[in-house]
Every structure is written in C-alpha cells, then in structure tokens.
Amino acid sequence: MLGANGAGKTTLLRTISGLKEPKSGTITMDERSLVHKRTEDIARLGIGHVPEGRGVIGEFTVEENLRLGEMMAKVNLQQGLDEQYEQFPVLGERRKQHAAKLSGGERQMLAMARALIAKPSVLLLDEPSLGLAPLVTAQLMHTIHSLCETSDLTVILVEQNASSALRIAHHAVVLHVGKVVANDAASVVAADENLRQYYLGLVE
C-alpha cells in the first residue's frame, strides 16, 4: 500500500483490524466477513497487526512482549520463542532487557516477532521503515521478503518508502486521499512514469 501522508493507508489497516468501523464496503478473509467484529477476535482469526510506531511495550522485557504475542496461539511457548530468536538473534541476546532500551530497528524486529509468534496468516505492517537508517531498512525489507517466500504468510505492507517496498512486493496499490489510483502488479506500478512522478515521488 503506497501513498502520501493522509492517503488513508493507516486508516485502511486499522479498519481491517476492527479498530475503526468502515462506513461502507466489505472486508473478507477466507470468505469470512471481518466487518463489525471485535479487534481481539479479528486478531484471533490470524491477522497480525504491527501498528504505526510499532506498539512495543517499553516497560516490558523483550521476552514479556513476545509472551504477550503468544497468548492466543496454540503453539508451544518455548518453541515459539526459539523460532523467533532464531529469526531475530538480537532479540534472543536481549531477551531480559526492557523493550524501551532497544534501538528503533530492534523494536521493529520485536514488534514483528511478537506478531509472528502467533503464526498469523496475514501480517499488517504499518510503516515499518519509519525512522530507521537506510541500511536497517534494507535489512528489514529483506526479512519481510524472505518471510513471504518461505511461508504461506501474506504481508500487507504500508510504506512511504515506495522504492524499497516496490522492490519486494508482488502486488501494489496506490492510494490518494482515500481513493485507489492504481492496483496492479508491483513491477507494473514501479514502471508507470505518471504514478512514480505524481503519487510516489520517485523521480530519477
């Protein structure tokens, strides 16, 4: 999901998760409507949501944050933790530390690991690269890409950083003031000069 500030990207994700009521339209997953469902029930259906600003609980340790993610999953806690520590080794090293002490990139990893530990089928990521150094962003995009490649996980990625998002996405939707202005394969959107210039701010 691409688009400028105020395009409605975050609103869309919050509506999917039931934090906002849609005025019209439908949201379905596996032929099940998500409209009018409670946020916690939507989460339990397998939609992980890493909100803008990551939502990591600073006064909890890394491990407590992760345990919170595991609450509703039917996975074995230790196994779930081990998997995430393998995926994000830095979290394993800092498991006893308070999340407030982590760097921006580490927090993003923690937020993602916390969502992933519940084994969601859809992961909503809201601006994961916000405030991260370019190198960290590149690593993060790589991680997201490999997650999609190695599992059945569907990721809906909201980004302002259009070029790095388009590089890893299969499909792209461009929003402008609440309206869809493009909805196509990522490579097609990336190649569209008009879109690049007027909506994505990508000028050669």
Partner: protein
C-alpha cells in the same frame, strides 16, 4: 539498651506492623485499579465495606465465620465486576476528574445505603482467634493470635497478587491491558474482560482488608469503617508510587510503624499531620513515588 525501652520499641514496631499491613493492602488495592484501568478509586473503601455487610448478614442464619468470609469474597467479586461494567466502563479516556467524581459519589451512596439498611452502629464480627496478647518476660507483647492472623493473611494476599502479576499469563495480560490496551487487543487479548477482572481482584483485596479491620475487637463494622484507613492507604499508595504494588505495600507498612511511634512518643492527634507531611515531602522530592522507575507522573 534499657530493657524497658527495648520492649517499648518492639511493641511499637509490632503494633505498627499490624496497622501497616492494613494500609499496605488498601494501597495495593488502589494500585491494582490504577494500574489496570487508570482510575483512582475513591470508593475503594466503601465497596468492600458494603460487600462485608452483605456477606456477614449470613451470620444471623448461623453460618460460621469462614462461610461468611467466603460469602464476602463472592459478593466483593460481584460488586467489583458490576461497578466496572456499569459505572466505570463509560469513563475511560474521559478527563481524569470524571471517574473521581463518580467514585466519590458512589462512596457516599454506598455509605448512606449501608447506614440505612444496617444502621451506623458498630457491628462486631466474631473471629476464630484470640485478641489476648502473648507475654514476653511477663510483659504483653502487642502480638496476639489475631494480629498474627492479620499479618499472615496480608502476606498471603500480597504474595498471591505479586505472583499473579509477575509470573502468570493472566498477570502479563492484565499489565499489558493497562499500559497498552490497543496493542493488547491487536494481539488478541480480551482487554474488556481483563479490566473487569482487575476491578474484581482489587475489590476482593479490599474485602479481605475490611474483614480484618472490622474483626478487630475495638473496631467493629460500620458504614464508615474504612474511611480513615482509606486515607492512610491512599497516602501510602501516593508515597510508594501508584504504579508500584511493592512500593505501595512497603510504604503502607512503614507508614503504620511511623504512626505507632508518633502515637507513642508524640501525640495521637499528630499522626495524620505527620502522615500528610511525609506525603508532601515525598511528592516534592520524588513526585512519581519513592519506588517507581518512571520519571514523572500526572498528579
């Protein structure tokens, strides 16, 4: 040291400890609600008082002490849960003064209704423990089977709450719902139910405290039985830091002991003044509470 002075100090510490654990429990119940719902519950003394009246109304039907205690706890769970659902639920996210006004109003209503039903005459609760102080070298020790019952019960309740919050899944969810409700819901935590549960737990801690207070030979149960104790519990919670259960308990116990020394060496009327001075000084030096890690707090 002069043996007389030693025994006086021991007596003061023991007497203070007995009051202190009570203050600590009231402070703990305030912290439980503050941490889980961000509401400063001014009816934290009155709700358990009401539950205790209802529970001990069974006594006239010849149910024993322990059956009445169980009844009080059950009624406390109900009152706590219903209060959260019916009175407090609509107030989250509103200015902080709103829940305070509502809960002060609720306090007044509960005390008035209790007085109307059961009168404001002290009602003595029977206890299974003796009030007779043990002797040490021929002198009374300010320690009786009843005070041991009081202290042991308080320790059990405090330990149970600490274990719940620190080591259990439920405790983790309760803490998370309090500090980050939206994120918790995104992780599938049923925040609404946990808020209700937080109020239920806190009311039960209050009920156990009220039973201990009202069972005391010299006190008895009255509609306003918890008013004064609530004030000290509140001071302890503010000194200890509203965020910190351990801080609340430690501050409560210390306050109890200090009160006892002030009563013994200065004057009983000076107790509340000294307590308020302690509160003001601690708020000036460490506004977020002596035992909290957070650097600031809205007061």
């Amino acid at each position: 040291m002069d043996p007389f002075l030693t025994s006086r100090i021991v007596t003061d510490v023991l007497g203070g400890l007995t009051n202190g654990v009570i203050f600590g429990m009231v402070a703990l119940s305030l912290v439980l609600i503050w941490r889980s719902t961000g509401v400063l519950n001014f009816a934290q003394g009155a709700m358990p008082m009401f539950a205790t009246y209802v529970g001990f109304a069974l006594l006239s039907y010849h149910f024993g002490y322990w059956a009445c205690v169980v009844a009080c706890v059950i009624v406390g769970l109900l009152i706590g849960g219903l209060t959260e659902r019916l009175l407090v639920r609509g107030l989250y996210g509103k200015p902080e003064i709103n829940p305070i006004v509502v809960m002060v109003g609720f306090l007044i209503v509960l005390e008035a209704v209790a007085a109307a039903i059961w009168s404001s005459f002290p009602r003595s609760l029977p206890t299974p423990f003796s009030f007779k102080d043990w002797q040490l070298a021929g002198k009374p020790l300010a320690l009786s089977p009843f005070t041991v019952y009081e202290i042991v019960t308080a320790l059990i309740v405090m330990t149970a709450v600490a274990v719940l919050f620190r080591f259990t899944k439920l405790g983790l969810q309760l803490r998370a719902s309090a500090v980050a409700p939206e994120v918790s819901r995104l992780l599938g935590v049923r925040v609404g139910r946990l808020l209700t549960l937080g109020w239920m737990l806190s009311t039960v801690v209050g009920v156990i405290t009220t039973i201990l207070v009202a069972s005391n030979l010299f006190q008895g149960l009255t509609p306003t039985v918890m008013d004064g104790i609530f004030a000290y519990g509140f001071i302890a919670a503010a000194i200890g830091g509203l965020e910190s259960p351990v801080g609340a308990i430690v501050a409560g116990v210390l306050l109890g002991i200090i009160n006892q020394f002030v009563t013994d060496y200065v004057n009983q009327n000076a107790v509340i003044i000294i307590a308020l001075v302690l509160l003001i000084v601690s708020l000036m030096i460490r506004p977020s509470g002596v035992f909290t890690k957070r650097s600031e707090r809205r007061v």
